[in-house]
């Protein structure tokens, strides 16, 4: 496994990495899949999302998409959603995780790396319902003895 390229989120005019994939349910339900261009992007696409406020309600929209139809051919949002410039993610229930600050611990897999803070934004049917920030501690340093023998350095 390799650390995965993140989605992007525009919130309050600022762009930040997004360690969640709100498009996955849509793709699963509609049977759409993309081709992975490299090991850091197994899902085969990168979406840019924006939280847009209308009449006091903040909603999650997909505003850009760069998806690999084939290894060479990249398609955009209007190819997947013809006739639309942005898409309201009305299917999304759950939490978006936006890492902030310094990288405390790099993990070579998925979205498992730890950053100084996580901005957690909860949605219900694509509508923002709660925002919280979480302060992360750096994980304790591991000694050689904390690893199983076959993973220890210096072993033949």
């Amino acid at each position: 496994m390799t650390a995965q390229v993140s989605e992007r989120l525009i919130y309050g005019g600022k762009e930040t990495p997004l360690f969640s994939n709100p498009l996955s349910l849509y793709l699963k339900q509609t049977g759409i899949s993309f081709v992975s261009p490299h090991t850091a992007n197994w899902r085969g696409y990168v979406g840019t999302w924006e939280i847009i406020e209308t009449a006091g309600v903040e909603r999650l929209y997909l505003v850009q998409l760069s998806a690999h139809k084939t290894y060479e051919e990249i398609i955009c949002l209007s190819d997947v959603f013809p006739g639309y410039e942005k898409i309201f993610a009305h299917w999304f229930n759950g939490e978006l995780r936006c890492p902030q600050g310094e990288l405390l611990n790099y993990v070579h897999g998925g979205y498992a790396s730890t950053y100084e803070y996580d901005l957690l934004i909860e949605f219900k049917q694509g509508v923002l319902v709660k925002r919280t920030a979480r302060h992360n501690e750096p994980p304790p340093k591991k000694d050689e003895k904390d690893y199983p023998p076959f993973l220890r350095r210096g072993n033949a």
Binding site: G31, I87, F88
Partner: protein, 201 residues
């Protein structure tokens, strides 16, 4: 010859021992044949050689010794091995059945109520002030809904709504769901045959 074989009765303790070990010979032969069938391929052997882990004559002698010891164990303790063999086969069949099962998020305990498709559609329209959602049932998921309904061909098929609370264990692998999940399931005789998820993370 058959008559003499049928009329043979064990007379010494060696005869009794041979009679006892007879099934063990068949079981041992079967296990040896299976081990021969599962032996490393030439490619695997070549790979081991490249990695500097080539099988030496000492390794082969050790392996031969292990096989001899195992064969003696099977000959003597064949009833135990037979029980283990049957259990292992049963376990393998159960594993294959589990693998073949579809991986649905919904389980019977999360079903809420039987619902008519028309009623399900009435409450499914999505309101968006920026008009980025088509005015059809379930918005952008409309095509998936259509596919889901088109598979409900049997008269006994029922449409049920379901709700999985946050933190519940779902799917074949019993993952903990990080958000609540809502949707509809195709149910026949209490068994879930398909699902259409309308809300999830």
């Amino acid at each position: 010859m058959l008559n003499s074989l049928l009329s043979w009765r064990p007379e010494t303790w060696i005869d009794c021992l041979l009679l006892y070990m007879a099934p063990g010979i068949f079981l041992g032969a079967y296990l040896l044949a299976k081990a021969f069938q599962d032996r490393p391929s030439d490619f695997a052997k070549g790979l081991m050689k490249v990695m500097g882990k080539e099988i030496t004559l000492v390794d082969q002698l050790k392996e031969c010794g292990v096989y001899c010891f195992a064969l003696v164990c099977v000959l003597i303790g064949w009833p135990g091995f037979l029980i283990w063999f049957v259990k292992d086969k049963k376990g393998e069949v159960a594993r294959q059945e589990w693998q073949a099962k579809p991986d649905f998020e919904c389980a019977p305990e999360y079903l809420i109520a039987k619902i008519d498709p028309v009623d399900a559609e009435i409450t499914s329209y999505v309101s968006d002030p920026l008009s980025t959602v088509p005015a059809v049932p379930f918005g952008h998921l409309n095509k998936a809904w259509g596919n889901f309904l088109s598979n409900m061909l049997d008269e006994e098929d029922e449409l049920w709504s379901f709700h999985i609370p946050k933190g519940s264990k779902t799917g074949k692998h019993q993952r903990e769901c990080k958000s609540e999940i809502r949707g509809f399931a195709k149910v026949r005789d209490g068994k879930i045959l398909a699902e259409f998820i309308t809300e999830s993370d």
